[in-house]
Symmetry: C2
Subunit: 251 residues, 2 copies
């Protein structure tokens, strides 16, 4: 097993590299003083994950939260019948492992979709620092609250409606999540396979293919391989039935 690089990040690296990171929100808006900030920064370790290397498995003891720095990941569970269900995709700046805070056991398996870099936050340490900084705790609650909203968005995508709406909504929400982290709003990288995407939407992969083709035929998107461009966000929103930016960005 490859040992982590960059075990400790200095303050400047934190501010530079993590400008759009959930953890950033956890600390930068808060009035952190020398000691607290050092502790928060000092507890971060960073790790490389090649394809196939699980970050953690369902049932593992939950000691850390994780924040995606680079790449993307998926989390999934299986039923006794052997059916797999993808629960989520995780993009840079997003936090992973919040479902383990109750039982302190991970509730799903997480693996990278591509070579990814992930930041590790020892949960105990995080709590200790947060206990002394109310605004940090408040930010943590906000991050978790946003996680619930993402779950609701997922549920909306799986809801009983035509396949074309589900796919359109997925693209819309994915674009939004990426722009939230400062990416160009119309260029998407579908880093997951069609099969994973289909599973996430409760569709067959062939259906996803067909719907993507349809959306392209109607000139809402342009797609080649896994690179996707949104040509008409409003058209897409009309198909999906959700207002542009209505979800998770309400103010």
């Amino acid at each position: 097993m490859k040992k982590d690089v960059n075990n400790v990040l200095d303050l400047e690296a934190l501010r530079r590299g993590c400008r759009n990171c959930s953890v950033n929100e956890l600390c930068l808006p808060a009035p952190l003083h020398g000691d607290d900030l050092d502790r928060l920064v000092g507890m971060l370790t960073s790790g490389d994950y090649e394809r196939g290397r699980h970050v953690f498995n369902i049932g593992d003891r939950c000691r850390n939260l994780y924040v995606v720095q680079k790449g993307s990941l998926k989390s999934w569970v299986t039923t006794l019948h052997g059916h797999v269900q993808v629960l989520g995709f995780h993009l840079p700046g997003e936090i992973i492992g919040l479902d383990g805070l109750d039982s302190l056991r991970h509730q799903s398996t997480v693996e990278p979709l591509e070579h990814s870099v992930i930041c590790r936050l020892p949960y105990e340490d995080l709590e200790n620092v947060a206990a002394r900084i109310p605004s940090l705790h408040r930010q943590l609650l906000r991050v978790i609250s946003r996680e619930i909203i993402i779950e609701h968005e997922h549920i909306m995508m799986m809801s009983s409606r035509p396949a074309i709406e589900r796919v359109a909504l997925f693209l819309q929400v994915l674009a939004q999540r990426r722009t939230l982290r400062g990416h160009p709003p119309r260029l998407l990288e579908l880093s997951m396979s069609r099969a994973d995407l289909a599973n996430y939407l409760a569709l067959a992969s062939e259906t996803v293919s067909r719907m993507l083709t349809t959306l392209q035929t109607r000139n809402f998107i342009r797609l080649s391989h896994r690179k996707l461009e949104i040509l008409d966000p409003y058209g897409l929103a009309e198909v999906s039935g959700e207002e542009l930016g209505s979800m998770s960005l309400a103010d």
Copy 2:
């Protein structure tokens, strides 16, 4: 509008009436001293909600968290196309409104399925008390984490699998959520309409009816109107494809 009764609960009432309540978990395990406990108890107000009276609407300013004391509720959103999606059912002891903590706007509309009593926790006050009691904050995180697990269970119910599995899983999870609060493990009250239940599972209400009939024919359940008895939890688990107690109770 009927004014709330029991605006302030005394300590004994709290301990007696809320033995199985999420808020109970928020405070009782924590070493609360006179002042803190008084503040926590003092900020609780209780309200009656008849059928049709919304607890809050989507977009409303989010000032409170809510805990179900009696009855049951549903939360839902609509798409631009007019399609309704039920996001959750809320049982006694469960907490409502966590999805509003990020934007401080409610992300769904909540209404009772029957005459219900709900406890109100002003979020600001909760934060103030929690800021001084680390273990209280930790409990709050655990409650939210469990909320995420409930969302995952919902996603499993909506996943691409036969209707019979979805319905079986719903009954299994509902029974589990109720036993967690001290209810008899085999007797369920389906307080929602077939239509609501079907919507929650991404099925047609007729399909839910048929599946319930099938489960009854196979002697897994006994159903009359909205009262349901689980005759064979193991058989039900075999149908649903999930281990009994595997979800949210892993240790």
